[in-house]
């Protein structure tokens, strides 16, 4: 590749990535040479500014036609833009949480890494959203994963943090192996790693044996990716890792990492498997391969919702509870994937957006309450309404939204998923019913937190502990999350219209 070809690419399409990459690189070099006594907190603010800048440059790109550079390995289509917006907002909020994170021990020496590893993880997630090739897809996935492994264990002298990182690496390694194995079959069948070229080859593979191999590839990839989504069967890591990891990292895993997981899932499912056809002879008998797989996805979605919500009932540790809650929400999102109706994109996008705000908000409150004492029992919430009424009200909004109560963004998100699941033909009545039933089950543990905050008296020592001091970054994040949760709950069309006018059904998904 000579210089002319290199320069002929529209590099402007990658501006958001370049900004994040640049900031992360500069921060890591400065960290190396800066004197020890320099407060690394400034890095966090620079990182935050970098994310905002990247967001601004992305918004600037929104109106453009789809751009494809580097031989279709990097694509900036509506799909990529829409989900990158979510990733950037999520990462910005997590960065605000990270800025206010002051645990008792184990973080002092690694403050700098904390911030630029978050940026590196974000970069990986953004690459995943934009990649049009299995190789770049995988590189993005690994960049995100590796950053997350380190982040989970960044409290070096804190035992649970180490345990969580170890578990995360081992489980993640296995999951990656699964994904890669599945991808290798796809490559074997099509002879290319490029998604666009695959869409030309796959429809010709009507041979039953090929379809069988494609089936294996599908399950391998799906199972492997379920690790990132934290859905069954690869959800077991979530409770341990969520519990042990520093709270901002937990928020990062549950929001940015999960969104990235759905992004890659949709990309692969729709481009690779959505273009294959099962059935050996005669055009009439041919059915879309992916439609044939719907039932299996439905089973996984149902299992995920049930496991997540039922096991959450027994949790006393607040972060473990939120891990199961996060598994449950991934299950709800899989319902939208199962249905594959015309509402799938809006439902996924809106729900991930709503989930981002309500979940980061909830983790902000959790972080504020638990970081000083390392007491993560649900009892830490007791009497919060007496101690800090505004904080309790904010948490109340997040909890109601997670539980899907009207007036919050979570409700609209669920509504959107239901419409998709029930409008398609044949409608997924059973799956929708399971989703609603498990939502009611979730009331038990969500309202358990409300009970603690509003009904129970505070424990004695915490009552004299006096005021909870609100760090500025966390305060800003909380306000943004509360406002967004309520505004998108009452006027969801602010987001939905933005989505429809700018990304109109992702019609440019495959061009």
């Amino acid at each position: 590749m000579d210089v002319d070809t290199l320069l002929s690419f529209e590099w402007g399409a990658m501006a958001p990535e370049f900004i994040i990459l640049g900031v992360a690189t500069i921060l890591s070099i400065v960290d190396l040479f800066a004197p020890k006594h320099l407060d690394r907190k400034i890095f966090g603010w620079i990182g935050f500014a970098g994310i905002l800048l990247a967001l601004a440059s992305l918004i600037n790109l929104v109106g453009l036609e789809p751009i494809s550079i580097l031989y279709d390995t990097f694509r900036l289509d509506g799909f990529a833009k829409a989900f990158k917006i979510l990733l950037l907002i999520g990462a910005a909020l997590v960065m605000l949480l990270a800025l206010s994170y002051k645990p008792k021990e184990g973080m002092e020496e690694y403050k700098g890494e904390f911030y630029y590893l978050l940026l590196a993880g974000l970069l990986g997630a953004m690459m995943m959203a934009s990649s049009g090739d299995l190789i770049t897809l995988f590189v993005g996935l690994e960049l995100l994963s590796l950053s997350s492994y380190i982040l989970a264990g960044i409290r070096k002298k804190h035992l649970p943090s180490n345990e969580s990182a170890m578990k995360y690496v081992v489980n993640g390694g296995i999951a990656t192996a699964f994904t890669l194995f599945g991808m290798s079959y796809v490559y074997g069948l099509t002879g290319t790693t490029n998604l666009i070229e695959m869409t030309n080859v796959l429809p010709t593979l009507a041979n039953a044996q090929y379809i069988y191999i494609l089936g294996i590839a599908f399950f391998m990839i799906f199972v492997g990716l379920s690790f990132k989504l934290a859905t069954a069967p690869f959800h077991m890591w979530a409770p341990d890792v969520y519990q042990g990891a520093p709270t901002p990292v937990t928020a990062f895993l549950s929001v940015v990492s999960k969104t990235a997981g759905f992004v890659i899932l949709i990309r692969i499912l729709l481009t690779v498997f959505g273009n294959a056809f099962a059935g050996n002879s005669g055009v009439a008998k041919m059915t879309n391969f992916l439609v044939g797989m719907q039932d299996y996805i439905a089973v996984l979605a149902a299992a995920t919702m049930i496991i997540g919500n039922v096991v959450a009932l027994r949790q006393r540790n607040i972060k473990r509870m939120f891990a199961y809650s996060s598994i449950a929400h991934a299950g709800y999102l899989l319902v939208a994937v199962t249905a594959m109706s015309s509402f799938m994109y809006d439902a996924l996008w809106f729900y991930l957006g709503a989930y981002l705000f309500m979940n980061v908000g909830a983790f902000a409150v959790i972080q504020l309450l638990t970081q000083h004492t390392d007491n993560e029992d649900i009892g830490a919430f007791a009497g919060l309404y007496k101690r800090a009424p505004w904080l309790a009200l904010a948490m109340g909004v997040f909890i109601l939204s997670l539980a899907g109560i009207p007036g919050t963004a979570g409700f609209i998100g669920k509504l959107n998923i239901f419409i998709g699941a029930l409008a398609s033909d044949p409608a997924h009545y059973v799956l929708a019913s399971i989703m609603i039933a498990t939502t009611v089950i979730s009331y038990f543990y969500y309202f358990g937190i409300l009970t603690q905050m509003f009904f129970r008296p505070a424990a004695a020592e915490e009552a004299d502990g006096g005021k909870i001091r609100m760090p500025i970054g966390l305060g800003v994040a909380l306000v943004i999350c509360v406002v967004a949760t309520i505004v998108f709950g009452l006027f969801p069309n602010i987001a939905l219209d933005f989505f429809h006018t700018n990304f109109e059904g992702f019609s440019d998904f495959l061009q």
Binding site: P406, I419, G420, L422, I436, L450, F455
Partner: protein, 495 residues
């Protein structure tokens, strides 16, 4: 802002004012809480006096899913018909009186009244909503404040009561949500009158087909969803806990209005959207009604706590609503609607008196309240009047509704109706046993230093009694506004 929006959201003003008040100003907070219920009352009464209700309709674009502009829109639509207007007036009256009854609340008045007013918004909205999703949203808005009102201001097992309320109603509303979403997803509209038209034709032109068996399934699901709310036996256990554990002022609202949402939903959505299906369920409804009536009556007979007597009495009286609906004729349905209103007033009255007694004696068991006629002659008199209204004494509202409901059922299912009549006798037996035990029974305590019902406490008692007698002697006050609604329902049922 349109008239109806102001009516529904007027308690919001009170919430905002309360938010600014310091939380130690007990009497001021109580006064504001009471005043905040008045605008809705005044507006509801103004609406009650108007002939043409369609002028209050409000339609504004609100939420829109998908990219097709004409489908999957949820508008902000409020409107009134005779039936919903009556229930809005009832809501406004009972809310104002319950706000007065809230003088007995002992702690955290500010939070209490804010939740109380939010609850009122939810209730008013439920009756005014013109589409299913909006209905559901208001329906859920009633649920959250109730959870807190029970769980924080209730009695000994308040948290248990709050949870059982939440889970049962959560399940009920989950089933309701499935019905609503199936209808919305497959027809593309949530507007009640549009849906009624679409369901009336076979193979209507909808984005996704709706088969006859699906319609039947939805109708049964609807029956279960509102059956939890009403409550229909055996879905009633949560409601007993709420009646016993919640503070009396909240139970006034709960028993007086929230239970009625179940009946309202059955009539408005069940009969309105699925008339054919409910026709075939009619006998089932009548039988369920008789079961409710007898079960409630028999269990009320053996209760020792007056609150439990009233709770079972509510179950029993809701049976009459079902009996009236099961009759499927004009008399029956009119009787059911009358019973909804009448029981709303009567149970509000009786639970207000429970609050009055509890304030003075810290108990509500019948044995401990014995001989009250000596110490509190006036209160005892009112209690007796309430009980007589409840057992259906002619000249009071209970009589009209029971009479019409049974009249309707005797026309179509005389045997079922005859069995049901046993329940009417039982009602008299258990109510008189309880009330006489309290007023004339063996004196369970000293009455020295106990004041009779006094000053502001007279207001709810007198207003409610006056309304009960008014409906009893002059039923047209309800039947006239209802006429148009009834005709629509009967038209749907095939005349």
């Amino acid at each position: 802002m349109s008239f109806l929006s102001i009516l529904v959201f007027s308690p919001l003003l009170g919430i905002l004012v309360l938010a600014l008040l310091p939380k130690t100003q007990e009497s001021l907070i109580k006064l504001v809480g009471f005043l905040a219920t008045l605008p809705a009352l005044v507006l509801a009464l103004i609406a009650f006096g108007t002939e043409d209700l369609t002028k209050y309709d409000v339609v504004k674009e609100w939420i829109h899913f998908g990219s097709d502009a004409s489908l999957y829109a949820i508008d902000y639509e409020l409107g009134l018909n005779g039936f919903s207007l009556i229930l809005i007036v009832l809501t406004a009256i009972v809310s104002t009186l319950a706000a007065i009854a809230s003088i007995h609340i002992k702690k955290e008045w500010k939070g209490y009244f804010m939740l109380f007013l939010l609850l009122e918004i939810g209730m008013l909205g439920v009756f005014a909503a013109q589409n299913l999703v909006l209905f559901f949203i208001f329906f859920e808005i009633t649920m959250i404040p109730m959870f807190f009102l029970i769980g924080k201001w209730g009695y000994f097992e308040k948290e248990k009561g709050a949870y059982s309320y939440l889970i049962y109603n959560g399940l009920g509303s989950a089933i309701l949500l499935i019905v609503i979403m199936v209808l919305f997803a497959r027809t593309g509209t949530a507007n009640i009158s549009d849906l009624a038209q679409l369901m009336a034709v076979e193979d209507a032109n909808t984005p996704s087909p709706i088969s006859e068996s699906l319609k039947m399934g939805l109708a049964i699901a609807l029956l279960i969803a509102f059956g939890v709310k009403l409550p229909i036996f055996p879905l009633h256990t949560w409601m007993l806990r709420v009646h016993v554990q919640a503070p009396p002022s909240v139970v006034m609202i709960h028993s007086g209005i929230l239970l009625k949402i179940g009946a309202f939903g059955l009539i408005r959505f069940g009969f309105g959207i699925f008339p054919e299906q409910f026709k075939s369920l009619a006998l089932l409804l009548a039988i369920l009604g008789v079961v409710n009536l007898l079960y409630g009556a028999f269990l009320a007979f053996i209760q020792t706590d007056f609150k439990m007597v009233l709770a079972y009495s509510s179950i029993s009286h809701m049976g009459i609503v079902l009996i009236g609906l099961g009759a499927l004729n004009e008399a029956g349905i009119q009787g059911a609607i009358f019973q909804v209103v009448s029981h709303g007033l009567i149970s509000a009255l009786l639970f207000f008196l429970v609050g009055v007694f509890y304030e003075r004696f810290q108990t509500s068991t019948i044995a401990n309240l014995g001989g009250m006629a000596k110490g509190m002659p006036l209160a005892s008199g009112f209690l007796l009047a309430g009980a007589l209204a409840s057992l259906g004494l002619p000249g009071m509202s209970g009589f009209v509704s029971e009479f019409m409901a049974f009249l309707g059922l005797f026309e179509v299912h005389p045997v079922v109706a005859a069995i049901g009549c046993i329940g009417i006798i039982m009602t008299a037996v258990y109510l008189l046993r309880a009330v006489l035990g309290m007023t004339y029974g063996k004196a369970g305590r000293e009455f020295a230093g106990i004041t009779d019902i006094k000053s502001v406490e007279f207001v709810p008692v007198l207003v409610l009694l006056a309304l009960i007698v008014l409906i009893g002697v002059y039923p047209s006050v309800l039947s006239e506004p209802l006429q148009a609604t009834l005709e629509t329902i009967m038209l749907g049922l095939g005349g």
